[in-house]
């Protein structure tokens, strides 16, 4: 057993918060949750930040310009230079997800097949409107019963 249950959320930054949320909603099916005002922290430099729920994961978006340049234009598959968030769909829905990416005119790389000895099946790679790298995959261990992930309220 690991000493950690899950990753509960990530805080990312985006210059145009509304645009990135719209991308997550239309392409990935995210739900807008609320804007966390950070009021308790404002004296400590907190900023209002929207939160979006994506499947069982929460993104908190900081409307700030500081931070790394995420990727070169045209680079779809974020490598080790930066973070990449990967979500899974059931293997049976993977093709439908690829079709959806095409419908939404989202350029992507793949599908790429992973080695059979690992937990991943196939992946596609793309990035959102703010340049964050995303991967959607199906997993070979999709029938394994892991501990349940705590899911945020939509």
């Amino acid at each position: 057993m690991a000493e950690v249950e899950s990753i509960s959320h990530s805080g990312l930054r985006a210059d145009d918060v509304r645009q990135v949320e719209e991308f997550w909603q239309s392409v990935l099916g995210a739900a807008h949750m609320h804007v966390s005002s950070g009021n308790a922290y404002l004296g400590h430099g907190g900023t209002p930040h929207p939160c979006a729920l994506l499947g069982d994961y929460l993104f908190v978006v900081f409307p700030e310009l500081k931070g790394a340049t995420l990727s070169a234009d045209g680079q779809l598959r974020g490598g080790p230079e930066s973070y990449r968030h990967a979500f899974s769909v059931p293997r049976a829905r993977f093709e439908a997800f690829l079709a959806h990416l095409k419908e939404e005119h989202v350029p992507f790389e793949g599908p790429v097949e992973h080695p059979h000895r690992g937990p991943l099946g196939e992946s596609v790679y793309f990035k959102d409107s703010a340049g964050h790298f995303f991967e959607v995959c199906w997993r070979r261990d999709e029938d394994v019963e892991y501990s349940a992930v705590m899911v945020g309220e939509a």
Binding site: M1, A2, E3, V4, E5, S6, I7, S8, H9, S10, G11, L12, R13, V27, L28, G29, A30, A31, H34, S36, Y41, H44, L53, L54, G55, Y57, L58, V60, K66, G67, A68, G79, P80, E81, Y83, R84, A86, V89, P90, R93, F97, H100, V112, E113, H114, R117, G118, P119, L120, F133, V136, C137, Y146, S147, V149, M150, V151, G152, E153, A154
Partner: protein, 282 residues
């Protein structure tokens, strides 16, 4: 606000999701189903693999198990989520900014992590220390390349009814005009005089025991920890995303023979009907 530096012991998985969001609903609109993994660039794979395994406590599955072209390690959490460390010796650590990721632990995993960090000589800090609700815990850590993480948990004390301080004498009822809201430090409650009587409303937020304040301009109680809001009868304001875990609790009120308002902060009243004034008291 923190009554203690560590959560009470528990192996229960925390009853809240990321950012202390409530967990009742699953978003069925999501096209993607589950979070699968986070890929992180690191400059030295051996060093980072040891850090994520020994300091954070992830299970190491092995190396080069995916189609990632660079050398990489795959580590797993108990929910099946993965962290993949991909090596790039020329990777430039990102400057300090808001980008971070948060590992969710059970209270006991958190206690062990804090001990592990202490033994390994890591400084244990939380940038929001003093601004967390009761039972909300977080440690800031950075991996060897400066990637920022939180180790977080929610202890069972976040959801316990906070102890009262006996019967509080709020003075003569006639001292309060209709519309008054008076905050009492002893016993942590608000005494509200409505048209139809008095309510003694506990200050403790029902999300996770943050302490609410009264916002007179909005005629509401507000919890600064995750923004829950409640109306002047302690009922959650009805909008999506309000973190309130139910109405603010109310304490029973009695009036003394000479018309003083006595609030029993040791008890929670089932009946939320405002306590009408005794006849003749204005």
């Amino acid at each position: 606000m923190h009554p203690q530096a560590l959560p009470n012991e528990s192996d229960e998985r925390p009853g809240l999701a990321g950012h202390a969001s409530r967990t009742e609903a699953f978003d069925t609109r999501a096209r993607v189903q589950r979070f699968s993994h986070l890929l992180v660039g690191v400059t030295n794979l051996d060093r980072s693999e040891a850090w994520y395994r020994d300091v954070v406590g992830l299970d190491l599955l092995g190396r080069d198990l995916t189609a990632e072209p660079r050398a990489h390690s795959v580590l797993r959490m108990n929910t099946g989520q993965l962290v993949i460390l991909a090596e790039n010796p020329s990777f430039d650590p990102i400057p300090r900014c808001q980008i971070h990721h948060a590992f969710m632990l059970t209270p006991n995993q958190y206690r062990r992590a804090a001990e592990r960090l202490r033994q390994l000589g890591h400084e244990i800090g939380d940038t929001h220390d003093g601004h967390r609700a009761v039972g909300e815990y977080s440690i800031d850590v950075a991996d060897p390349d400066g990637h920022r993480y939180q180790l977080q948990t929610y202890g069972p004390e976040a959801f316990q009814v906070m102890p009262g301080e006996g019967v509080v004498d709020c003075g003569p009822a006639e001292r309060y005009a209709v519309g008054d809201v008076r905050a009492f430090k002893t016993g942590n409650f608000f005494l509200v005089r409505h048209k139809d009587g008095f309510l003694a409303i506990s200050k403790w937020c029902t999300h996770m025991n943050g302490m609410t304040v009264y916002q007179p301009h909005y005629w509401q109680f507000w919890c600064p920890f995750h923004d829950a809001t409640y109306d002047r009868r302690g009922m959650p304001q009805p909008y999506p995303g309000n973190r309130a875990g139910g109405p603010l609790r109310v304490h029973p009120i009695v009036f003394s023979d000479d018309g003083r308002v006595l609030v029993n902060t040791d008890e929670i009243a089932e009946d939320r009907t405002p306590m009408a004034l005794a006849a003749g008291v204005r």
